[in-house]
Symmetry: C3
Subunit: 419 residues, 3 copies
């Protein structure tokens, strides 16, 4: 994952343009990736596909002095993302409204965007700004807005059913490591894991520009959207904070219950309730869709100081954190695969497990937490309506113990599918 | 409000009789007031309209000594309300069962009633009682029970819909300031506020004798009762305790949710659960009606020491408390007016607020608690079933922010009425 | 109860055989008892009726030395219940897997069973085991497995309705006093109490071998099982721990709510949630039945050190505890009898209780917790759906106060049956 992140880091991404294409090219070298695209001007629900944007250079210097005080060649964060072009000499006073800094973090460059409101601007550290003397400055931003395409990456892994798990990550941020090269790298690795075995569920993995990308996909894929039964927006998975799971709008969707149980079993993570502010869960949980889609991050956007600043760099993310994030997500996939509702086929009293050899035969001592308790709970609760995750939750047993018990009970023809 | 209270204070009210009429006359000088009346003997549900009652004088003296130890001319609390007449000389021992005091508050005269069980009695301070020597006493109570009418005041303010808000206060207590001249004064002022602007909802304000009055109104107004969608019993609003909202029997009626959110927003008040003991909410929440009617007081009956004693006098109530109570009630009215369910008309993903100029255009920074969050929450939750109050409750946003957001979204045709 | 327990204590019970029959004979001397029986080999749901088992003797001695180190004549716990026969000389090493002890309780003999997996074994104290020198031992167990019957006791007390309360206790344990001679004795006494008065409900009291007995009854009594509306598994009621009520799988069944309120009223007991591990509630709460059957014990199986050891002897149980357990169960019976849903026949406002003489006539003072509050609550809540137990729970009033209030309201024709 680290290699992919390092390759992606220098690219100047935005919601459209060559940065997006270069990013998808690199992902596509690792996994099968469709590349749908919609032309500029296409109506997608309430939105319209914008032009493509390209940054070719930008700098700030004293008027009549070529020394660059701020230079986009050093970091693409220095230019407001989607900025219009400018080439002008102006006083510091005139310039100031176009200069964005972080007074609270005076040595960090902020990340700023202006996608849908034409404007130009530069971002720099507050220390740099405070070092500027009164006088005239030359500001030059060379960007290009051209008709083109909104483009995204889509990896589909077919399962034996059309029931679909939606996994998405945004790809529109420039040189920011945790938000969201970590998400891109983890989702790419997860795609390989999912594809490594036959699956019951179908998986749809989207590498999309934030907001406009998810709306583009939703607007052009109504059938696929309707087949989604669970999903996760994945981002910010490389920092060393504990996991944060944000519930779907429904609050008790399958994905909500699965994450709650898996994090409980790991003794990790915090659960937070849905709010309509954040990443693309805003779109998937809008009332016209109201999907059971939650969000998995480590730290929460806006709550760690490196968020949306130049401090979210390659040094901020840790390989161990990325690996642990991937591990949790593979557990999520395995759990969604196994998390089914069953009907107890011997529902009148308990079936005699002893004669089937799957229960200890000398009575009088039982480890309350053993897998044998899993048999009893799964048999007791399998009314065709209660899934294994609900059983793990109610029983306090680890999800893995419950799933193992269900597998063995199925092997002995004690569980069937609901009608 | 203070003026009206001072004018009402000396009047000897009861559930019927000249005191009620004089009270309604004074209220009727301030607001439009219908004066329905039911003749003595009328069956109203399980009850029968009683006779009218009038007190013309009462005293206690030593036999053969005209010095009045207790005199109703000093306070109408000295006579058990609805007392029968008596003119007799008797020993202290014979007299004692007819003398009511408060041993715990030895310098206060209690308020006692005996409406439906003919009896005579005097109320005095415990200090007075303890000062009585053995011997013979003359007791005289001059009251009149006559066939007449049960009468109440009814102020109707028509709105554009028949959906009705019921606001009631009891008018049967004699010289007690907080319970309930404060309620009468605040409801009178609230009537003026409601009438000062066009309203969506219809308002029915009742100034009624406790129990028998609400039963009289319910029995004779089945259609109006059926149109009630929210209501409040208002009483005890002049003392300096914090607000107390008592939930309706339903517990999650509109009025319950509105008061919960408004008190949360003000950082004031305690919420208590319904019990079938208290004021007229007992009648409105009886199973045959089960209206969404709660109760707003400051201190709770029986829990402040001045309750139902001569200490509940004009000095006990504060103008600031009355004004604050009125202010909260105007917020209740405004909130009931605006608290509607909407359908998001652009429900597939988020609508593009930026292009409508109602959303900040430079991304990357948002005040989580700003009115912009109101847009997001209202859009996300407006499924035609969820009202603005529920959105304020779930989001943690102030009701006013949510209502403002909804108004602006309506202006931009983003919200419609549910089918 | 103590007498019956002492008479039952020496008998070597198991799930079948002469010990069961002798036990039922003694119970049958006290109450009317049907004695259904199913022949060995009968299929009952997923199970098959086993053979009968009889123990005629067992001992362990040094080879060539008649001194008995362990002797079943001293305690029937020394033989694994349902053990096969053996007569052999073997080394301590060969013997060891067949010897069961409690290293944590080195002076207690454990209770062990092997009903459905043929095996032989002896139980002894860990001190005894540690005192055995290397060398050859003679082990002899004389048991008999013969075709015969699964037998249980069934006491039916008909009420005026077919609605049935199921009360069961297991009878398969040998010389263990609390688990479960206490249950047998208390249930026998409770049968006498129930039969002492006419009842609205029908009672079915089962004295059954654990697991196989409840499955046998369920398999052969589908109609009676379907008529069960509440029930309790009763066991371990002689120790001095506080009561423990284990909820049914439903969690909010009538029996759950009744026990919750009665224990609250007594200020006693802990409530624990259902798990599919324990006594015969496992069978009654299996998904094919899912009865509203909970479990009442004092200490919880596995949580007190005497459990399933020779320390659960006649000295471990206390007469006062048995008596208190019986008292609580009589309250349960009385509460189930009276716990009905009513319809308020005067539901429009409150009925005038004063004129009926069941309400204090001088207003102004009421004891919030008096039975008068019971009138108000029962009238307010009697919508035909809410039972008296729910009213006691919501109101905080004692169940007995609510039931008394309901009785008096019925006497005054203020309550009727739901349609």
């Amino acid at each position: 994952m680290r290699q992919l992140i390092e390759a992606l880091y220098p690219i100047c991404r935005s919601i459209t343009g060559p940065g997006v294409r270069a990013t998808l090219d690199l992902i596509g070298q690792q996994i099968d990736l469709d590349r749908p695209k919609l032309p500029t001007g296409t109506r997608i629900h309430d939105w319209t596909v914008p032009q493509e944007w390209e940054l070719t250079g930008a700098y700030l210097s004293h008027a009549g002095d070529d020394t660059r005080i701020v230079d986009a060649a050093e970091s693409n964060l220095h230019v407001v993302n989607f900025s219009t072009s400018v080439d002008a000499v102006m006083s510091l006073e005139e310039l100031r409204p176009h200069l964005h800094t972080l007074p609270d973090r005076p040595d960090c460059v902020p990340y700023r965007t202006s996608y849908y409101h034409p404007a130009w601007g530069l971002c720099l550290t507050d220390n740099q700004l405070n070092g500027l003397a009164e006088g005239d400055y030359r500001v030059r931003i060379d960007t290009h807005h051209r008709d083109g395409f909104l483009e995204w990456g889509e990896c589909t892994i077919e399962g034996s059913t059309r029931e679909t798990v939606l996994l998405t990550t945004h790809i529109c941020h420039p040189s920011l490591a945790n938000d969201n090269l970590s998400g891109i790298a983890v989702l790419t690795a997860l795609a390989k894991f999912i594809a490594s075995a036959p699956r019951r569920l179908t998986y749809k993995l989207l590498f999309i520009p934030g907001t406009i990308g998810s709306i583009g996909w939703l607007a052009t894929n109504p059938e696929a959207a309707a087949a989604v039964t669970a999903g996760l927006v994945i981002t910010g998975l490389g920092d060393t904070s504990d996991f944060t799971y944000k519930r779907s709008q429904q609050g008790d969707a399958t994905i909500d219950r699965v994450l709650e149980v898996l994090l409980r079993d790991r003794g990790q993570g915090q659960l937070i309730d849905f709010t309509p502010y954040g990443y693309d869960e805003r779109q998937f949980c809008s009332p016209g869709y109201n999907m059971g889609v939650g969000r998995l991050t480590r730290g929460v956007h806006g709550e760690y100081p490196e968020y949306h600043t130049s401090a979210d760099n390659l040094g901020f993310i840790q390989d161990e954190a990325l690996a642990e994030s991937l591990e949790l997500l593979t557990e999520v996939v395995e759990s969604l695969e196994s998390n089914r509702r069953y009907v107890n086929l011997a529902p009148y009293g308990e079936p005699q497990l002893g004669k089937r050899g799957i229960y200890s035969s000398v009575g009088g001592a039982i480890d309350q937490k053993s897998v044998e308790m899993g048999y009893l709970w799964v048999l007791n609760q399998s009314d065709g309506l209660t899934d294994l995750c609900a059983i793990a939750s109610r029983s306090g047993l680890a999800y893995s113990a419950v799933a193992t018990a269900a597998d063995r009970l199925k092997d002995h023809d004690l569980l069937g599918d609901p009608k």
